[in-house]
């Protein structure tokens, strides 16, 4: 995936940037991440100018080293917000380096980037082949459980009861499903 700022280098990290009062999440290269951090530092309100001591010029190389170290820290801080799979813990850059995902949940964790890659590889984003019944039922149950959790959090209790009943029906053996005996 290309950097969303320079559109040239490969994106390596994710940053948050305010644009017209709205915060955006951008996938950017290392250079653009540093540039953004520098820009933000420069835009920050500065203290009133103090008189320059006579020996200040001789300290410039030292200042340079301090600034480099500061940028390195900023860089690392930016990387801390790198996308990580909550299930297996691998980061986006680890996946990119090895071209291998960490676990099935990575498909959801890195969905935005993976959709682009998968579409490029296969020219499709929709499976049309074999459906393993057990896995399909497991997936359906997981979706209902997620929806139930959301409904409870949102205090939508009628919806939650309906979802709970659906989950119960899924758990019943096939012969006992449905309202008619």
């Amino acid at each position: 995936m290309k950097c969303e700022l320079c559109h040239k280098a490969e994106a390596e990290t994710v940053i948050r940037k305010k644009d017209a009062g709205e915060e955006q999440e951008l996938y950017v290269c290392r250079a653009c991440a540093h540039e953004t951090a520098r820009g933000e530092a420069a835009a920050a309100p500065k203290p009133a100018a103090a008189p320059v001591p006579s020996d200040a010029l001789s300290a410039l190389p030292l200042m340079g080293m301090i600034l480099d170290a500061a940028f390195e820290i900023v860089g690392r801080a930016v990387n801390l917000s790198e996308l990580t799979c909550p299930a297996c813990g691998i980061t986006r850059s680890e996946y990119r380096k090895s071209s291998r995902l960490g676990c099935p949940a990575c498909y959801e964790a890195f969905a935005k980037e993976l959709d682009t890659a998968v579409l490029e590889m296969h020219r499709s984003l929709q499976h049309v082949g074999k459906t393993p019944e057990k896995a399909r039922a497991m997936w359906q149950r997981q979706q209902l459980e997620n929806a139930l959790s959301d409904a409870v959090k949102g205090q939508r209790y009628e919806e939650a009861i309906a979802l709970r009943d659906q989950i119960r029906r899924l758990s019943q053996p096939e012969g006992q499903q449905g309202g008619l005996a």
């Binding site: 291998r100 960490g102 099935p104 296969h122």
Partner: protein
């Protein structure tokens, strides 16, 4: 006089060039993973061992006739033999804990455990009978899915360690011998055409390998967006067209450049009969020519199945297994030359 004789003998052969044997074998592979488990490359030894046990138990329940063993249970030579027979990959050989292999007694189906994915179910068949290979792999997969929780979603299908296999997880491939096209200088055009049709073309050893002996592996690139039957039929249809082109190249070779063909066959036979040292790749080049000659019926006492057997048995693992010794590369080259020379003693070129 000799040339006339060659031309007469060969022109007769040109009318009867067989397509059989150009496609050597085919395979359908299904990549499968278990939900809630890390993919093998990122898994700990304990994770991989756990997956191995789950898969082994499922195989014991559904395919009791299969031999299921950890890769580590095999001696180094035996592992090489399995690899040379294309039952397991080099990647699996290097996998320490949790790597396993299971195969049916008749060799029609094999499962690699904890290779790139938790399972790689492979169905094999002769020639271009890709339907048979697909049915063998599909039947085992369907039986196993009742015992294992596959990682699957309605949108992306079977989830795999590398997104290039996601969807059906299916790779249908055929191994084809294209020496006629090489001698006619047409291989590159055919390979480019296949790549334009979104097919992968690789050497005999799979990903990243050279097409030694002009033996190519052709397989599908897309595994998502088409169903399994559509993929298998498409690869099969295109490979049949490649076989037709190779056959035409062989006919033209006989009609237009008989001397080139006969020279190639005579040199190859001569080297195999007389060489004292032969490396695997070198031997494969000469056996490739022998295979072409045998398929055209131009050798006495040498048919295509015999050449195919030699292509397998002259490889390092098989050679050492037959000799019962562990050999260094130079000793292997010596033994290979001696072995092939013995097999070629009574073989003669008919023209």
């Amino acid at each position: 006089m000799i040339l006339n004789l060659e031309a007469g003998m060969l022109s007769k052969r040109a009318r009867d060039v067989p397509a059989d044997g150009i496609a050597m074998s085919c395979r359908v592979r299904l990549a499968r993973n278990l939900a809630g488990e890390r993919f093998p490359d990122w898994a700990t030894e304990r994770d991989r061992e756990r997956v191995y046990v789950k898969v082994r138990d499922a195989l014991h329940a559904e395919a009791p006739d299969f031999l299921v063993e950890p890769v580590a249970a095999y001696e180094e030579q035996e592992r090489e033999v399995l690899c040379e027979a294309h039952l397991i990959s080099k990647d699996l050989l290097e996998r320490a804990a949790g790597g396993g292999v299971a195969y049916a007694a008749d060799g029609s189906v094999c499962v690699m455990i904890n290779e790139e994915d938790h399972m790689r179910i492979q169905g094999f068949a002769n020639g271009l009978d890709m339907q048979a290979a697909w049915q063998a792999a599909d039947a085992l997969d369907t039986r196993l899915e009742g015992h294992l929780d596959y990682a699957w979603t309605p949108r992306l299908g079977y989830l795999t360690a590398c997104p290039s296999n996601v969807g059906t997880g299916l790779r249908a491939s055929a191994m084809v011998h294209l020496l006629g096209l090489r001698l006619q200088g047409e291989t590159e055009a055919v390979v480019r055409g296949l790549e334009r049709m979104r097919l992968l073309v690789r050497g005999i050893g799979g990903e990243g390998s050279e097409a030694a002996g002009q033996i190519y592996q052709i397989s599908n690139m897309d595994s998502l967006g088409l169903d399994e039957q559509a993929i298998v039929q498409r690869v099969s249809r295109i490979c049949a067209e490649v076989v037709r082109q190779e056959r035409n190249a062989r006919i033209r070779l006989i009609q237009e450049s008989p001397l080139v063909l006969v020279d190639c066959l005579a040199r190859s036979l001569s080297v195999l009969q007389n060489a004292r040292l032969l490396a695997t790749s070198e031997a494969l080049e000469f056996l490739s020519a022998m295979r072409l000659g045998a398929s055209l019926g131009l050798f006495t006492r040498m048919k295509v199945p015999e050449v195919d057997k030699l292509i397998l048995t002259m490889q390092p693992g098989h050679l050492q297994k037959v000799s019962g010794m562990t050999l260094n590369p130079e000793e292997r080259d010596e033994m290979r030359a001696e072995y092939l020379s013995r097999k070629m003693t009574n073989v003669k070129l008919k023209c």
